[in-house]
């Protein structure tokens, strides 16, 4: 009945001509056909639809592209990173939002609040008196066979007034227009960070529309969550220490965790950052162990404690459950909450609501049948080709009966008959559709929205929004609710007439990052130190490669033999600096192709040890592991560098012009990164470690550079060119010119590059600054303990650079007038002190987590598991 939809199929129109045919039983955009088979655009969509139609498909696709760029820059696409590679399937944002009218939202909100209250009561009962099982309200088998029911957590929830602090539910619209819950998420519900990110991207690409539409904002939900969590922590401290426990940057949900952590202002930690002593949980920081009051965990139940739970869990903290059991740490959510994710519970919820709350369940679950019940089993077996088959065991993807062959259906029927208690049949819940942008047209899609609920003073609050994912209409993956990849939409909860004046959108819809930690975790200190080192190394290599490239171009253009001689030394220095070791003496280079290839490889071959590309990868990894500490701008620069290198890699081999352009862009970007990290990071301990890394690397690079270039006097023509190139590579030409006018010789170069304490690129400057940063670090026992080993080494190094003068350093032996042995000895001495200092630093501040092992390992009986589908 496509003719019944006005506007659909108009030439150049935004609505797909097939919209009416493809839409579901209920459509978000169009009302159901009336008696004259006419459809109307629903009231809350009218203004927005015409706004989108004015923009047109091409413009909207452009905005989608912009959103893609924002996602990539902000690291959303990093979430699927595997062994250092960028994710190939990042989230794609559909600029058309999912609208929830105020009246519908009111139902969802109160329904979810009630449901959270109910699930909280169930959780406390199952780990307490177990009236539900004893009284037969829930079949014992359904609980006992679900791996989320942790016997170890029995009785461990007594400390919680409210146990289910943070809860998520996936909801869909049914054929009748009512919303229903597909599944409940209670262990470590992911997606809140993505919901925020989606909103931020959407407010960037549709700034006016979102404001004009009176959409509820998300920020206050998180503000309240932050305060509520602090209020719930044990020990009743004014300022409790709350950490977000993640599983490291390889976790597919890492971005989500990092984003949430930095938004809430809690440090993001891993299992190895925490330790249990004296029945309390402690965070390893550069200032020693600090008590942790509460853990917002992003780690599933079974992975949290290798002592009592899965012994193979690397992400956990031994004895965490014992600490939680004693009430010495608050867990959000408590260990054992996974039982609430049991799909077999859904059919029993209405009864339990009546029993526990004396209320009817406000928000229905999607119709589900647990096969352990005879009648339900009969229903499921009969309607198998129209149902999703879910197992109550973890780690099994649902199976969509509609996609099975007759033979497969028979196979599944037999399996269910054999062990009915293991299976749940569920309606697929894809009968409604919502408008979505597909290749420049609006087409109907199925949507599922993850909503977030948090406990607050005596009640539960629902985040006014959510994370909406879409699929093609009728496409039933079964993994819809579990999948964290694909196309997403921002969820716009519309304000009612009365609420409209309450919503104010600030000019910049970007919520500020809250980054303020009192004690820096040791692992973060280490990562920041390495970010500093790798960033400096990348910049140094880029500048040196650029000098070599220019020299190469000159040598080709003018054919001056001095140019080639200088180039040979520079290429040798580049090799020494990239690999960090000296190798055979420089050889004269023959053939421009060879030079070009060497330079290209050093820049872009990520598999070559110490290449610029490899250095940058290392920088990216270090930066990623403290992702929660970077502003969006900082991350954008890191992304730009990555892109620039990627572009360069795709270019054909020859082309030194393009290479020079790449190097210029890299220098600018790296300088930008330095500026951002220095200027936009508060001068706390994290900043000190970042700077220490930078200074150490620059000092050691200067030493290596001098060692690989000027240890022997070169022919006069070459030497002059070489010194000039070194000054350029070190951004010290201007300094030299101001001090010495044109007279460039080894003596003036050594003065500027090594000894000038006012040149921020000199060795002396690095050493003196480094000493200051080290003095600013927290010291065990305070100043009374005197100097630490690293400070002692730096005092030595400072003395060396302060006392040195060019005439002594450049004095030569009569027998070997061209050898600069004094200079070599000086450089080696400073280098030695720097080595001592960095080793001492490592020992004193970085994590030296010993590997743990099980004393008695009970492995699970893997051989006897039924076959996995």
């Amino acid at each position: 009945m496509s003719e019944a939809i006005a506007g659909a199929g108009e030439p150049g129109g935004l609505l797909s001509p097939k919209y009416a045919d493809d839409r579901g039983v209920y459509d978000e955009l169009w009302s159901a056909p009336d008696a004259d088979s006419k459809s109307q655009v629903r009231g809350h969509w009218q203004a927005l639809l015409s706004a989108f139609q004015q923009l047109g498909g091409r413009d909207l696709e452009g905005r989608r592209k912009e959103a893609r760029r924002l996602f990539r820059e902000n690291g959303v696409s990093y979430s699927a990173m595997a062994d250092g590679q960028r994710g190939t399937r990042p989230w794609e944002l559909d600029p058309i939002p999912f609208l929830v009218p105020a009246a519908d939202w009111a139902k969802i909100e109160s329904g979810l609040a009630q449901r959270a209250r109910l699930l909280d009561a169930i959780l406390k009962d199952l780990y307490g008196p177990r009236h539900l099982i004893r009284g037969g309200m829930v079949p014992a088998e359904l609980i006992f066979r679900h791996p989320g029911f942790l016997l170890q957590a029995d009785g461990a929830l007594g400390h919680y007034e409210v146990a289910l602090t943070l809860y998520a539910a996936d909801v869909v619209r049914g054929a009748d227009g009512g919303f229903r819950v597909v599944s409940d998420r209670a262990q470590a519900p992911a997606g809140a960070g993505l919901a925020l990110e989606t909103r931020i991207a959407c407010s960037r690409i549709l700034p006016n529309l979102i404001r004009a539409t009176h959409v509820h904002r998300l920020a206050s939900f998180f503000r309240t969550l932050r305060n509520d969590l602090a209020g719930r922590a044990p020990h009743q401290k004014l300022d409790p220490r709350i950490v977000v426990l993640g599983q490291g940057s390889d976790d597919p949900s890492y971005f989500d965790h990092a984003y949430l952590a930095s938004y809430l202002g809690f440090p993001l930690v891993e299992g190895a950052d925490l330790t249990v002593r004296e029945s309390h949980l402690w965070l390893r920081t550069i200032e020693g162990l600090k008590l942790v009051d509460m853990v917002l965990r992003r780690v599933p139940d079974s992975q949290c404690d290798p002592l009592e739970l899965d012994p193979a869990s690397g992400a956990g903290i031994p004895a965490l459950l014992e600490v939680a059991r004693r009430g010495n740490v608050g867990m959000v959510n408590p260990l054992g909450a996974g039982i609430l994710e049991n799909p077999g519970l859904l059919p029993f919820l209405p009864r339990i609501a009546r029993q526990f709350l004396g209320e009817e369940l406000k928000l229905e679950s999607i119709p589900s049948w647990w096969c352990g019940d005879e009648k339900s089993k009969a229903y499921v077996l009969e309607h198998l080709d129209g149902l999703l088959i879910k197992s109550i065991e973890h780690g099994r993807a649902p199976v969509w009966g509609g996609a099975l062959t007759a033979e497969e259906l028979a196979h599944w029927r037999a399996r269910i008959e054999k062990d009915p208690g293991l299976y749940v049949g569920q309606e697929p819940g894809v009968s409604a559709t919502t408008p979505a942008l597909v290749k420049g047209e609006i087409r109907p899609r199925s949507a599922v929205t993850r909503c977030f609920v948090a406990a607050t003073e005596g009640t539960f609050r629902t985040m006014p929004g959510g994370f909406t994912r879409t699929t093609s209409p009728g496409e039933i993956t079964g993994g819809l609710s579990a999948s964290l990849q694909g196309t997403c939409k921002d969820t716009w909860v519309l304000a009612s007439e009365e609420e409209k004046h309450l919503i104010s959108w600030p000019a910049a819809a970007m919520p500020a990052f809250v980054v303020a930690y009192e004690s820096l975790p040791s692992r973060a200190a280490e990562s920041l130190y390495w970010v500093g080192r790798h960033a400096e190394q990348a910049e140094f290599l880029t500048r040196l490669a650029r000098s070599a490239l220019r020299k190469f171009n000159e040598s080709r253009d003018y054919g001056d033999p001095a140019d080639s001689g200088c180039l040979a030394i520079l290429l040798y220095a580049l090799k020494v600096l990239s690999t960090g070791r000296s190798s055979a003496a420089p050889t004269l280079i023959s053939g421009s192709e060879f030079v070009e290839n060497t330079l290209l490889e050093t820049v872009r071959d990520a598999t070559l040890e110490g290449s610029l590309a490899a250095t940058f990868k290392a920088l990216e990894r270090s930066a990623l592991s403290v992702r929660d500490r970077w502003s969006t701008d900082t991350w954008r620069v890191i992304d730009d560098i990555s892109e620039t290198l990627e572009e360069q890699r795709r270019l054909p081999r020859a082309g030194s012009v393009a290479l020079e352009d790449t190097l210029d862009r890299l220098v600018s970007a790296l300088v930008g990164l330095t500026g951002l990290t220095i200027e936009s990071t508060t001068h706390e301990h994290g900043w000190q470690f970042l700077m220490i890394g930078r200074r150490v690397e620059r000092a050691r690079n200067l030493i290596l550079l001098m060692q690989s270039t000027v240890m022997r006097e070169a022919e006069e023509g070459i030497e002059h060119q070489l010194l000039e190139a070194l000054l350029i590579a070190n951004e010290s030409v201007m300094t030299h010119r101001r001090r010495y006018r044109a007279a460039l010789d080894i003596s003036s170069a050594v003065q500027v590059l090594l000894l000038d304490t006012s040149n921020p690129r000199s060795l002396a400057y690095q050493v003196l600054e480094l000493a200051k940063h080290l003095d600013a670090l927290p010291r065990e026992g305070g100043a009374r303990r005197g100097m630490a080993a690293d400070q002692r080494a730096l005092l030595q190094a400072s003395t060396l650079v302060r006392l040195a003068d060019t005439s002594t350093l450049l004095a030569t032996d009569v027998d070997q007038p061209h050898q600069r042995d004094e200079l070599a000895a000086f450089l080696a001495a400073v280098d030695n002190e720097l080595g001592i200092a960095t080793a001492a630093l490592d020992q004193a501040y970085f994590t030296h987590v010993q590997p743990t092992q099980q004393l008695v390992a009970v492995t699970r009986d893997v051989d006897d598991k039924p076959e996995v589908d």
């Binding site: 170890q152 012994p311 009970v858």
Partner: protein, 295 residues
């Protein structure tokens, strides 16, 4: 009988252990036909934290954490237990046809029966196999009294499987024990549990000790005893009936119960996680001393 049980575990590490967290289930319960009197757990080096609690199954669990660097760990438990012989006469109801128990479990119309479902479901180390259910049915013939049938199953496991302490480890799957027909007490207990659960009867694992007697005329050797394990079958209105397939008998007063659970994973006497330590060796010695024996 009055016994003094001494159970010592000694770990020797090649590297220093800086921190260790442990859980011990080494304290006998006071239950049924036994009373636990005095007991003393000694850990060397001295733990910073020691705390006792009851687990889900009612067993006494001791958590302890050693927080100072150490290169060996000694966990020594001495407990005194008074045991009685199991009633010799068949308890009322234990002769009923086994199907009645199975059907009562299916109906589950009492709170206790519902809670006992735990012992019907698969557990970490025991999953039922069709061949094991078949094996059980040879003893559990239609209408046979549950006690008699269970004793027959015990007898058949004893006869069909050979005791071989080298054949299996803690992680050997049941399917292999079944195929190779050899194992130790723990395997036989798991085998019996899987067989009973396979035909719908609730069965659990009992860990404990058995007093061993030296050959006539010989002196008993120190440390010659060992941890033991057997199986318990739940019969409504009667309680747990216990069988020891390793020795083809029902536990006598020489049996001391340490802990009960669904399988070994629930009752392991000592587990721990250590930081560092490197390769290490472990030695266990158990002594069950009859306090009334003539010296």
């Amino acid at each position: 009988m009055r016994y003094r049980v001494t159970h010592t575990t000694h770990y020797d590490y090649t590297d220093t252990v800086t921190l260790c967290h442990n859980e011990a289930r080494l304290t006998p319960s006071s239950e049924g036909r036994q009373q636990c009197g005095r007991y003393l757990l000694t850990v060397t080096p001295t733990p910073k934290v020691v705390r006792e609690r009851r687990d889900y199954f009612g067993n006494r669990v001791t958590y302890f954490g050693v927080e100072s660097p150490h290169s060996e760990l000694i966990v020594n438990m001495v407990s005194e237990v008074l045991t009685e012989a199991a009633p010799t006469q068949l308890q009322l109801g234990a002769e009923r046809p086994w199907e009645e128990v199975r059907d009562a479990m299916v109906r589950g119309d009492e709170a206790d029966l519902r809670m006992m479902q735990h012992f019907l479901c698969d557990s970490p180390l025991v999953r039922t196999l069709p061949e094991l259910a078949g094996y059980a049915l040879e003893s559990f013939t239609p209408g046979r009294g549950i006690m008699e049938a269970a004793m027959d199953l015990t007898h058949r496991i004893y006869a069909d499987f050979s005791y071989d302490s080298t054949a299996t480890t803690i992680s050997t799957p049941l399917s292999q024990v079944w195929k190779e027909r050899r194992g130790v007490c723990q395997d036989f207990a798991h085998l019996a549990i899987a067989s009973l659960r396979g035909i719908g009867l609730p069965a659990g694992y009992v860990s404990g000790y058995l007093e061993t007697l030296p050959p006539v005329g010989a002196k008993k050797l120190v440390g010659s005893d060992a941890s033991h394990a057997w199986v318990a079958l739940y019969v409504p209105d009667v309680g747990w009936l216990e069988f020891d397939p390793t020795n083809d008998q029902m536990p006598t007063e020489q049996y001391i119960v340490l802990a009960r659970g669904r399988d070994y994973a629930d009752v392991s006497p000592l587990n721990g996680v250590i930081y560092g330590g490197g390769p290490h060796t472990m030695e266990v010695s158990v002594d069950v001393l009859d306090l009334d024996a003539p010296v």
